[in-house]
């Protein structure tokens, strides 16, 4: 049985923890709003670019002369995985969810006897993956010192990937990130960026007939050559923005839970504290009364 003093100390420490988590929650909520706006503002650019590329890919008739970024190198040996996580912890399952998904795919790739190469973006992902997959990590990046992610930063990662692709270091590239659905749910995702996934949506079929009438200046191939490298950076930028929003959302929920748990704990401890105080008073009274009786 802890003494009254001990209980008092514990209540105090839990209360101050609660204060911290509450503050973190509020900070995350404020940052979330900003990040969410950024992510939403960034969507038109990547969506439109994706549309244009889809239109262009339909015009490519000869798969041999088509740009390699579009159709792949023709081989299927080396996979490059870009795992994007946060630089900070204390955000619930955010980082571990991405890593879990990434590890699942790493295992799959390795069992298929593929060569695996990993680039980690964000320090937390690097920390989680370095034990098991450290020998596959070829590059690590983080944006610890950058307050707000700009297109320039995404471009850096994009150029890195492109230069590795040009020197033939890998055949396929995947990115792992959290898609921001809403404040409570973030879905870890894998997306193939090299070669570009050609998901045809059924609803666009009507548009297709119109799209065929596009005029291209200069010709399609040259536009594709210019567009595809840009698309890589755009996709990465989009992933980073989604990730930033998800991180704040996840942190907010985690901190909200922590605040609530701390509250519950304080309540429980207060009851124990009151009971043991009452018990000691009762005990003292019994002692006095029985002392008086024995006289």
């Amino acid at each position: 049985m802890p003494s009254l003093d001990d209980l008092k100390k514990r209540i105090k420490s839990v209360k101050s923890t609660q204060k911290i988590t509450k503050a973190m929650k509020m900070v995350a909520a404020a940052k979330l709003k900003k990040a969410q706006e950024d992510a939403e503002k960034g969507r038109p650019y990547s969506d439109k670019m994706h549309n244009i590329i889809l239109n262009l890919t339909k015009t490519v008739r000869d798969p041999i002369s088509a740009p390699k970024l579009l159709v792949g190198t023709g081989e299927n040996k080396t996979y490059l995985c870009v795992v994007m996580t946060a630089d900070r912890g204390l955000c619930g399952g955010f980082n571990s969810n991405i890593c879990k998904l990434a590890k699942k795919f790493f295992k799959k790739f390795l069992s298929e006897k593929k060569n695996l190469k990993i680039i980690t973006v964000g320090t937390k992902g690097h920390d989680q993956l370095k034990n098991e997959y450290g020998k596959y990590i070829i590059e690590k990046k983080n944006f610890k010192n950058i307050k707000k992610i700009s297109f320039k930063d995404a471009n850096e990662v994009g150029t890195l990937i492109l230069s590795k692709f040009k020197s033939g270091e890998f055949d396929k590239c995947y990115i792992f990130f959290n898609n921001f659905k809403n404040v409570i749910t973030q879905i870890p995702q894998i997306q193939q960026i090299i070669p570009i996934e050609q998901k045809e949506e059924l609803s666009t079929e009507k548009e297709n007939s119109i799209n065929n009438q596009y005029e291209y200046e200069p010709d399609e191939d040259e536009i594709l050559d210019d567009l595809l490298p840009k698309n890589i950076s755009t996709q990465i930028f989009k992933a980073l923005l989604e990730n930033a929003a998800s991180e704040q959302g996840s942190r907010m929920t985690a901190m909200d839970n922590a605040t609530r748990n701390a509250g519950d704990l304080v309540e429980k401890l207060t009851i124990t504290y009151n009971r043991s105080r009452q018990a000691s008073i009762t005990k003292e009274l019994i002692e006095i009364i029985s002392g008086a009786e024995s006289l």
């Binding site: 950024d38 503002k41 960034g42 038109p44 650019y45 990547s46 439109k48 670019m49 244009i52 239109n55 262009l56 700009s150 297109f151 995404a154 471009n155 119109i210 799209n211 009438q213 596009y214 005029e215 291209y216 200046e217 200069p218 040259e222 536009i223 210019d226 567009l227 840009k230 950076s233 755009t234 930028f237």
Partner: protein, 129 residues
């Protein structure tokens, strides 16, 4: 009266400009291009230069390094990561960019294609200052 069409300029982080216009001139890769309502659907990309948007009320000008342009259904879409309204340029920025461009232009490893693009950048920036 001239007829209007929609124009949108979008950068990776936000929608920079969204309005109607009756004439827009864009620095297409193969030369300046004027766009009016009813232009045929086109996709092209840009070299460094100035985008000028005219409508009845005002004229807006933007400088950009690169970009993709799509015109369809009377909507002109410009995607660019380096677009900036000319009003927001300071003298210092122009000079800095100009110096940088001229420096890489004079480098030996600079290919003809890069030189072509840079020459337009230099010219465009000189016009600004």
């Amino acid at each position: 009266m001239k007829e209007n069409f929609n124009i949108e300029i979008i950068s990776p982080s936000k929608i920079i400009f969204k309005d109607t216009a009756n004439h827009v001139s864009i620095p297409s890769y193969e030369g300046m291009m004027g766009v009016l309502k009813g232009h045929i659907p086109i996709i092209t990309f840009l070299r460094p230069g100035i985008v000028e948007i005219n409508n009845e009320k005002k004229t807006e000008t933007f400088f950009l390094d690169e970009g993709i342009v799509e015109f369809s259904n009377d909507t002109l879409l410009i995607l660019s990561s380096s677009v900036k309204n000319i009003k927001d340029f300071t003298k210092k920025e122009i000079n800095e960019q100009l110096n940088l461009a001229e420096k890489s232009f004079n480098e030996e490893k600079c290919s003809d294609k890069e030189k072509y693009i840079l020459s337009y950048k230099i010219e465009g920036l000189k016009n600004l200052s």
